[in-house]
Amino acid sequence: MADRDLRDRAAKGLSEDWQLAIAYNAALQCATAALAACGYRSSREAHHYRVIQSLALTIGADAKLVSRLDAFRKKRNIGDYERSGLVSEKEAEEIAMLARQLRKDVENWLRKNHSHLI
């Protein structure tokens, strides 16, 4: 599913707000997948914050990646009518790269530690 989201983001003409939403969702899904592989199920109310933080414990993500993803989580939270259009092209690209990187990391980790799941 993360793949589909990342491909969607590459579609031209999508506003930066949408690009952020899509890439962020993809990243979140990767983090959730890692949690699931470790045997944890995040409940509906599971705060995105916790899912992101869990990356340090599941795939051993470094603190820098986790805090960058969390910065994008905050950015994602800010959408409302008054503030639409506040995501810049630069930021949309950054989160896309981060989501792609995370996907690779999670995939590698799954391959190494939970190969039966791939």
Binding site: S67, R68, K75, S88, E89, K90, E91, E94
Partner: protein, 226 residues
């Protein structure tokens, strides 16, 4: 949103010394405005009372939070109360001091405090290591318009050759000291110019409203096409 610290002033930051040799006059400031105008105690008290004017403090608290000497504090507090800048009240055995909202210069002092000794100073310091790569940086929104509430976030625009990740990381400790979340929007110069030219709704709204400049100024903003 994080709950605000009881103190938005971060003692110990001292004078901000920017990288010397910057070409434009708008980037050069060999001394902070606060330290040029005021002595150490005055600066500290200005920040303490006027960045968070809804709070009241007693003497020992003031000495501790503002990092000032007791004698100097008492002298200043006395003068400030006499001139109407502060109100003094008694609660039980304690004497409390608080900014006087009815002072004719309350608004001006609050603006001065925020710009020189409060939030703006802290944020400017936080991103100063990227100074060479930032064309313009300013605070906008409720904090700049002085309508901020206790839990308000600080909205910020940064234009330059830095990543959102770098700015967000640099602002992390600043958020802790000012007790508010900071939301940066980071643009390349190219994108900023392009969006201004195209009357992009968000930017158009932002540049038309009050701002507190951290790096660069109104002139720089005009040069970028505002």
């Amino acid at each position: 949103m994080r709950s605000p610290a009881s103190l938005a002033y971060a003692p110990g930051l001292g004078t901000i010394v920017p990288i010397m040799g910057a070409q434009e006059s708008s980037r050069k400031a060999s001394q902070s405005v606060g330290s040029a105008l005021f002595g150490k105690t005055q600066r500290a008290l200005l920040a303490l009372f006027f960045v968070r004017p809804e709070e009241s403090f007693y003497l020992r608290q003031i000495v501790r939070l503002a990092g000032v000497g007791q004698g100097a504090a008492q002298r200043e507090l006395s003068a400030w109360v006499d001139s109407g800048l502060l109100v003094r009240s008694r609660r039980g055995q304690q004497v409390y001091y608080q900014a006087n909202r009815d002072s004719p210069v309350f608004g001006e002092l609050k603006a001065l405090a925020v710009k020189t000794a409060g939030i703006a100073d802290v944020l400017r310091e936080a991103i100063t290591k990227f100074r060479d790569r930032i064309t313009l940086a300013f605070v906008h929104g409720s904090v700049a318009e002085q309508t901020e509430k206790a839990g308000s976030d600080v909205d910020m625009v940064v234009v330059g050759d830095v990543t959102f990740g770098d700015i967000a990381a640099a602002l992390q400790p600043a958020q802790d000291s000012i007790g508010r979340e900071v939301n940066p929007s980071v643009y390349s110069e190219k994108e900023f110019r392009k969006k201004l030219r195209a009357s992009h709704p968000f930017l158009k709204n932002v540049v038309g409203k009050p701002k507190i400049f951290l790096i660069g100024d109104e002139r720089q903003l005009k040069r970028l096409g505002a």
